[in-house]
C-alpha cells in the first residue's frame, strides 16, 4: 500500500504541476478547471484511503470474538450520499462556467477552414483563399494572429480525425459529413505543436502540424504575401 500511496501522491503533484502552460485563454480556463478537480480528487482520496487504512490497522483480527453485527446506519449513509451529490453539483457548476468561456463565439473572428485527410491537413484562409497543406509524414505551419479571435472550421475528406493542440488543452473532431468548429484566442506569439488524436489508419501518428502565432501586422503581411516577416517562410 505504501507504494500505491506514494504513487498517488506523485500522481497528484505531477498532474497539477505538469499541465502544459496554457497558450490560449480557453486553455487557461480548462487548466484552472483541471486543477480544481485534481484538488477535489486529492481530498477524496485522502478521506477514502485514510478511513480504509485506519480500519485495516485498528480492526485486524485479534481474537475469535464475533464483532458487533452492525447492518447499517441511516444518518451516516445519508452523509456519504448527500455530500458527494453536493460536491458533483458544484463541479458541474464550475464545468458550465468553463464551457461558457470555451464555447464563446465572436462573429469577427478570423476564419480558418481546416480539412483533415489521410494523412495530413489542408488549411484555407477564406478571406483571400490562401491555402497551405502538409504531405503525408510532413508538417504544416498554421499561421494565426495574436490580436484577434480565431475560428477554426473542421471537416474531413475521408475518416474521423481530431485536431489536437496540447498547449491549448483542447481538441475537436474532424468528421466527414459533419463540419465542426471552435474558436480560440492565442495571446502570445510562439509555435505550438499539434497532432491528430483520433485513430485514422497507419499514418495516424504521422500527421503533425504547428500553430505559429504571430502579431497582427505580421499575420496580415503573411496572409497578403505568403512570407513570414523576419522568420523566413514557414516550413512546408
Amino acid at each position: 500500500m505504501a507504494v500505491a500511496a506514494g504513487a498517488a501522491g506523485a500522481l497528484a503533484v505531477l498532474l497539477a504541476g505538469c499541465l502544459p502552460q496554457p497558450a490560449s485563454t480557453q486553455g487557461a480556463s480548462i487548466a484552472s478547471l483541471y486543477q480544481v478537480f485534481i484538488a477535489g480528487g486529492v481530498v477524496v482520496t485522502a478521506i477514502v484511503w485514510g478511513l480504509a487504512t485506519w480500519a485495516l490497522i485498528r480492526y485486524r483480527r485479534r481474537g475469535d470474538e464475533l464483532p458487533t453485527q452492525v447492518r447499517g446506519n441511516v444518518p451516516i449513509e445519508a452523509i456519504w450520499t448527500l455530500t458527494p451529490l453536493v460536491a458533483v453539483l458544484g463541479l458541474f457548476a464550475l464545468t458550465l462556467g468553463s464551457l461558457q468561456v470555451v464555447d464563446a463565439n465572436d462573429p469577427s473572428a478570423v476564419q480558418l477552414d481546416v480539412t483533415a485527410f489521410r494523412w495530413g491537413w489542408q488549411v484555407t484562409y477564406p478571406s483571400n483563399g490562401r491555402t497551405v497543406s502538409s504531405l503525408t509524414g510532413g508538417s504544416v505551419a498554421i499561421v494565426v494572429p495574436t490580436d484577434r479571435r480565431i475560428q477554426i472550421s473542421l471537416s474531413s475528406a475521408d475518416v474521423n480525425h481530431a485536431f489536437f493542440v496540447p498547449a491549448f488543452l483542447f481538441k475537436k473532431d474532424a468528421i466527414p459529413g459533419r463540419p465542426t468548429s471552435f474558436e480560440i484566442d492565442v495571446p502570445n506569439a510562439g509555435t505550438y505543436p499539434g497532432a491528430c488524436a483520433e485513430y485514422c489508419g497507419i499514418g495516424h501518428d504521422a500527421m503533425p502540424f504547428t500553430i505559429v502565432a504571430v502579431s497582427g501586422s505580421t499575420f496580415d503581411a503573411w496572409l497578403a504575401t505568403g512570407h513570414l516577416a523576419g522568420e523566413g517562410a514557414p516550413s512546408p
Binding site: P67, P166, A197, Y199
Partner: protein, 553 residues
C-alpha cells in the same frame, strides 16, 4: 472430454467460461506486452504500424468482450444457482449455447491473424467510416464483426437465462431482499446487457450490410452518417463498462463481509446503488463524444457526474463493513482492499473526464487510456482475482497457495502503479492514444519506458498465479463446504458441489443463511429471526459483549 463438450450443468459451464475467459486474457495480455514493448522507445522496433493497430484492436476487443464480461458470466453461472438455492439454471441448454457462441465468437475474431492481411485494425471502437470497406478491406474486419455479433447474441441469451433463474428458481424463503449482493449485481447486469447488447449487435450487422450488401448507414460519401455508428456503439459501450464492473462490485460485496466477520453495511443501499448506477449508465453514452461537437454537453456531463454518488456509496459501505470488524487479510481480501485504494483513483479521474472542458484535453490521450485501465484493472481484474482465490476451494475443493497469492497481488498493485500512473501524465502532456511511434523530442520517452517496465511486472506477476493453480490442481481436494466462514448458500454445498448442488438447505431468514446456521449451531439452537435486512441501524448482540450499540462513528 465429451462430458465437458456436452455439458449443461451450470457449474461445468461456469468453469468453461472462467477458463476460456482467462485464456483470452492471457492472449490479450501478450498483445498488450507487444504494445508496451513497441512504445518503450521512440522509433518502430518490434512491429509495423498495421500490426500495431491489429494488436491494440484485438487487445481491447478481447479484454472487454471476451474476458471482463465472460469472466463475470462464468462466476455467475457457477454461483447464481447455488446462491439462490437452485439445482441449475432455468434453461441449461440455452446456457450451453451461450458459452459456445462466446467461445467461437472469440476464436473467429482471433482467426483474423491467420489471414494474409491480418486481423481487424481499426480500434475496439471500430469507428466508421474507418471500418468501412474502402478503408478496411481486410477480411479480418468481417471476422471481427462476426465475432462481435456472436458474442452479442451470447450475452443476450445468457442474460435472459440469469433473469429467469433469479426470479423463478429461488429456494423457499429466498426473497429478493435476501439475495446475496453478487446475485443482485448479476440481475442488474443482465438487465443492462439486454438493453445494451442489441445496439452493438445491430450496429455490427449494419456495418456488414454497408460493407458487402450495398448499404450506406455509416458512410457519409453515400448519404450515411459517421456519427450514427458512435451513438449505436456507445449506447452499448457505456453500459458495457458497467456490465464489466457491477458483477465485480458484487464479488467485493461478498468477500469483504466474510473476512470482516460482519454483515454487509447498508445491504439495501448497496442494491439501490447498483440499480442507480445501471439506470444512469444508460444515459451517459455520449460522454464519449464530447469532442464531436454534435451532442448536448451539459446533459451527458451531469448524468456522468451523478454516477460518482452511488459508486461512492459502495466504496464507503465496504469500508464501513470493515469498520469495527475482525479483519483477516487473506488473499481474496487483499485484492478487495487493493480495489478500494486503486479503483478510487479511477473513479476520480472518471469524474474529471465527465467534465467536457477537461475531456477536451483528455479525450483520446493517454489520460483516458490510464483512466480506463485504472477502473478495469483496479476494479474488474482485482475483484476477478479476489473471486478466483475466494471460490477456488468451492469450485475445485483445493486452496490456492497463500504466499504465491500474495506475491501475485503485490506484483499487480506495484505493476499497475508503474504502468498507468505515468500514462496519466503522458496524457496531460498530450500524447495521443493508438500511436505506434512518437518523436524523441516529444519528451515522452522516460515515462513510456517506466510504463513498459510496469507492464513487464504485470506480466511476470501472472506466473505465481498460474503456478498456484497448477500446484493446487495436483493436490488432493481437502476443502470443507465452508472453509472461510461464508455467508451465502454456496457455502452450504459440498466443495465441489454435487451435480444437483444441495441435499439440504439451511433456513433462509436473512441474506446470510449460512452465517445464521453456523451461529445457531454454535449456540445450539435455531438461528434467531432478525428480519430480512430491514433492521437497519439495529444490531445483533455479539456473544460476550454487554453493549450491542455500535455504529461506524
Amino acid at each position: 472430454m465429451i462430458a465437458w463438450l456436452s455439458a449443461t450443468d451450470h457449474k461445468r459451464i461456469g468453469v468453461l467460461y472462467i477458463v476460456t475467459a482467462f485464456g483470452f486474457m492471457v492472449l490479450a495480455g501478450l498483445m498488450a506486452e507487444g504494445i508496451r514493448t513497441e512504445l518503450a522507445q521512440p522509433g518502430l522496433q518490434l512491429v509495423d504500424p498495421n500490426t500495431y493497430a491489429q494488436l491494440f484492436t484485438i487487445h481491447g476487443t478481447l479484454m472487454m468482450l471476451f474476458f471482463a464480461g465472460p469472466l463475470a458470466i462464468g462466476f455467475a453461472n457457477y454461483l447464481v444457482p447455488l446462491q439462490v438455492g437452485a439445482a441449475d439454471m432455468a434453461f441449461p441448454r440455452l446456457n450451453a449455447l451461450s458459452y459456445w457462441l462466446f467461445l467461437f465468437g472469440g476464436l473467429i475474431i482471433v482467426s483474423g491473424f491467420l489471414t494474409s492481411s491480418g486481423a481487424a485494425a481499426v480500434g475496439w471502437t471500430a469507428y466508421a467510416p474507418l471500418s468501412e470497406l474502402p478503408y478496411a478491406p481486410a477480411p479480418g474486419m468481417d471476422l471481427w464483426i462476426a465475432g462481435v455479433v456472436l458474442v452479442g447474441f451470447s450475452g443476450i441469451l445468457g442474460s435472459l437465462n440469469f433473469i429467469v433463474t433469479i426470479y423463478a428458481r429461488r429456494a423457499p424463503g429466498m426473497t429478493m431482499f435476501r439475495l446475496p449482493l453478487f446475485t443482485w449485481s448479476m440481475l442488474v447486469t443482465a438487465v443492462l446487457i439486454l438493453v445494451a447488447f442489441p445496439s452493438v449487435t445491430a450496429a455490427g450487422a449494419m456495418l456488414f450490410i454497408d460493407r458487402h450488401l450495398g448499404g450506406a448507414f455509416f458512410d457519409p460519401a453515400r448519404g450515411g452518417d459517421a456519427i450514427l455508428w458512435q451513438h449505436l456503439f456507445w449506447f452499448f459501450g457505456h453500459p458495457e463498462v458497467y456490465i464489466v464492473v457491477l458483477p465485480y462490485f458484487g464479488i467485493v460485496s461478498e468477500v469483504v463481509p466474510v473476512f470482516s466477520r460482519k454483515p454487509l453495511f447498508g445491504y439495501r443501499a448497496m442494491i439501490f446503488s447498483l440499480v442507480a448506477i445501471a439506470g444512469l449508465s444508460m444515459g451517459v453514452w455520449a460522454h464519449h463524444m464530447f469532442t464531436t461537437g454534435v451532442v448536448f454537453l451539459p446533459f451527458f456531463s451531469l448524468l456522468s457526474l451523478f454516477i460518482a454518488v452511488p459508486t461512492g456509496i459502495k466504496i464507503f459501505n465496504w469500508i464501513a463493513t470493515m469498520w469495527r470488524g475482525s479483519i483477516r487479510l487473506t488473499v481474496p481480501m487483499l485484492w478487495c482492499i487493493g480495489l478500494i485504494y486503486v479503483f478510487t483513483i479511477g473513479g476520480i479521474t472518471g469524474v474529471m473526464v465527465a467534465s467536457p472542458p477537461i475531456d477536451f484535453q483528455a479525450q483520446d490521450t493517454y489520460f483516458v487510456v490510464a483512466h480506463l485501465h485504472n477502473v478495469l484493472i483496479g476494479g474488474t481484474v482485482f475483484a476477478g482475482f479476489a473471486g478466483v482465490y475466494f471460490w477456488f476451494p468451492k469450485i475445485t475443493g483445493r486452496f490456492l497457495d497463500e504466499r504465491l497469492g500474495r506475491l501475485h497481488w503485490a506484483s499487480w498493485v506495484i505493476g499497475f502503479a508503474l504502468t498507468f500512473v505515468p500514462q496519466y501524465e503522458l496524457g496531460v502532456l498530450g500524447m495521443p492514444r493508438r500511436v505506434a511511434d512518437y518523436a524523441p523530442t516529444a519528451g515522452w520517452t522516460e515515462l513510456n519506458l517506466v510504463s513498459t517496465l510496469g507492464a513487464v511486472v504485470l506480466g511476470l506477476g501472472m506466473l505465481p498465479f498460474l503456478a498456484a493453480v497448477v500446484i493446487a490442481l495436483r493436490q488432493a481436494p481437502t476443502a470443507e463446504p465452508d472453509p472461510w466462514g461464508g455467508n451465502s448458500l454456496e457455502w452450504a454445498a459440498d466443495s465441489p458441489p454435487k451435480r444437483h448442488n444441495f441435499d439440504w438447505l439451511p433456513p433462509i431468514r436473512s441474506e446470510r443463511p449460512v452465517f445464521d446456521a453456523r451461529l445457531a449451531a454454535e449456540r445450539g439452537g435455531e438461528p434467531r429471526e432478525r428480519g430480512d435486512g430491514e433492521t437497519r441501524g439495529g444490531a445483533v448482540r455479539a456473544p460476550g459483549r454487554s453493549n450491542p450499540e455500535a455504529g461506524p462513528a
